[in-house]
Amino acid sequence: MSSKSTIYSFLILGLAVTLLLIVAPVVYAISLSFYRMDSFVGTPEWAGLDNYARVLSQWEFWRALINGFVYSLGTIVFQVVLGIGFALVLNQVFPGRNLVRGLSILPYLLPTVVVVLTFKWMVDGSIGVLTNVIAALGLPPVYWFESPGAAMASVILVSVWMWTPFVTTTFLAALQTVPTSLYEAAKVDGTTAIQRFFHITLPMLKPILTVIVLLRAVWMFNKFDVIWLLTQGGPVGSTEHLAILSYRTAFSLFDIGGGAAIATISFAILSVAVFIYFRMFPLDTE
């Protein structure tokens, strides 16, 4: 039948594109991790698991792994908590609500470079708005990019600033699906607003929250541009996570096999984490 063959031809086309654009580069990157290479033009030399052994024995790798967890955990917790908080506020009836709802998505729409430059300008040592506010409050100056702790705080702050609107918007939309009569029944049952949040809102929105957290976690774990633009992993590697270490290893130290090995390990860790996550929070139950 012609309709069937049409369907198959689309299917094959789709598979081919997927293979070419997604599977092939991944396979290629993974295969690189088994070779010794110091440039992309030379002939690769089989190295077996040497790259992995070397990478795993470097303490920079473990530091980057821990930094990655700190960064993604920190950004996710703040994004989700703040995002839900804003969504609950924006769900109330107040004058100008639609305008505020519209404006709240803005940081998400801005290019990363713009957000990063804005932040850098805000914390500039002499003219920065934040710098001056901190000075006016009589607090000691913050060395945003110079001290390791502050640098990590900076990248988390900027990331949370950028991606909280995503959580807010998604959660706000999901809030509209909860029947108001449930809240009314709970009011009659004697609950406080906080109890209603934990007994109704949260359980009702658990499936959507599961997906939000997962998406954010994957994105944050692989996030490259914000950190690269803000600190390039510094100072002294305090904000360097696996993606940046992999990049630096491959393109600054010209250890392409090592960089690929780091990327492959990162990919494996993420896959295992997602698997465990779905075991802990299955999507199909209430």
């Binding site: 029947p179 009569s181 009314e184 029944a185 009011k187 009659v188 049952d189 004697g190 609950t191 209430e286």
Partner: protein, 360 residues
């Protein structure tokens, strides 16, 4: 158990008034039904009693206590919602227990009350299930149970049966009536279904466009509808309403002339609507019988509903089951004076006939 008292209770949404000053005294243990078409303000009134809707003006008292500014949880009421509003991720047991847990009741007492209510409502076997796993009728029972365990001063029910199919609706109706007899708590019940209202209520409050039209026992409302709206809304099949005017001391419409019942005062030439229920037109020969030309016959089983004309006026007549009637045939019918209702056309108000009710 308690009295509920509404004094000039009003609700406006911006410029539009949903409920105009309602005054109502609901007695201890009474079953009061708000009846009216969709949008007439029944739910709004009920929700104001519950405290789910702010009151624009007026006061509400429950058990002699002014609750006008109190939160729903402090009014000692329980509410049953049209869509049940069960907590989907809690078990039936937890649904029933939730309101008690939130009130920090002893675990044993909660368990005792939940068990008692679930036995009463036949929910015993389902306590560990989630609402999704129940049928509509069972979910409605859980909603009733959730109200029951609280042992409130007043039950408020907003169209609790309208999501059920017709058969189940009748069963649940009986169950609610039984429940009311057993617990004896005051109930305020909202419905647009006049059969529900007639069968359940001690008193019916009929509303239209935010105004109370009439308050009375079901048969009072049936026997003496206060105005045209109540006359047409209560009773099934609907009351025949015939427009005409007072001429020479009689009601006249087209070729139909009916002497005004004794005691009715109406000025000559007044535009009048005559109401007569289909079941109050008698069939059979008599001194004032008129021929009824039958056009449509509806067999209802025990009764036969005929639609046709008397002297050019369209009427419905409900009679004992009659197998012999045919389309186009004619039967002699007469109007019993005690079955006649007269309303002023312009205002819709009833013209009093000072008679004893039909059936006495």
């Amino acid at each position: 158990m308690a009295q509920v008292s509404l004094k000039q209770v009003r609700k406006a949404y911006g410029g539009t008034v949903a409920v105009h000053g309602v005054d109502l005294e609901i007695g201890d243990g009474e079953f009061v039904v708000f009846l009216g078409p969709s949008g007439c303000g029944k739910s709004t009134t009920l929700r104001m009693i519950a405290g789910l809707e702010e009151i624009t003006s007026g006061t509400i008292e429950i058990g002699g206590r002014d609750v006008t500014r109190l939160e729903p949880k402090d009014r000692n009421i329980a509410m049953v919602f049209q869509n049940y509003a069960l907590y989907p991720h809690k078990t039936i047991y937890e649904n029933l227990a939730f309101g008690l847990r939130m009130r920090k009741m002893e675990r044993d007492e909660i368990d005792r009350r939940v068990k008692a209510a679930s036995v009463m409502l036949g929910l015993d076997p389902y306590l560990e299930r989630k609402p999704k796993q129940l049928s509509g009728g069972q979910m409605q029972r859980v909603a009733l149970g959730r109200a029951l365990v609280r042992n409130p001063e007043v039950f408020l029910l907003d169209e609790p049966l309208s999501n059920l199919d017709a058969k189940l609706r009748v069963r649940m109706r009986e169950e609610i009536a039984r429940l009311h007899q057993e617990v004896g708590t005051s109930m305020v019940y909202v419905t647009h279904d006049q059969v529900e209202a007639m069968t359940l209520a001690n008193r019916i409050v009929i509303m239209k466009d935010g105004y109370v039209q009439q308050v009375g026992a079901p048969l009072e409302v049936y026997d003496r509808p206060a105005n045209l709206f109540v006359a047409s809304f209560v009773g099934s099949p609907e009351m025949n309403l015939v427009e005409g005017r007072v001429e020479a001391g009689a009601f006249r419409s087209g070729g139909l002339t009916i002497p005004l019942p004794e005691g009715v005062q109406a000025a000559e030439g007044t535009d009048i609507v005559l109401g007569v229920r289909p079941e109050h037109i008698s069939v059979g020969e008599g001194p004032h019988a008129l021929p009824f030309d039958i056009a449509v016959i509806e067999q209802l089983g025990a009764q036969t509903l005929c639609i046709g004309q008397v002297a050019g006026v369209r009427l419905r007549v409900l009679m004992e089951r009659t197998d012999a009637v045919r389309n186009g045939s004619a039967l002699p019918v007469s109007f019993r004076p005690e079955g006649l209702h007269l309303f002023i056309k312009q205002s819709g108000a009833r013209l009093d006939t000072r008679r004893s009710p039909v059936g006495q």
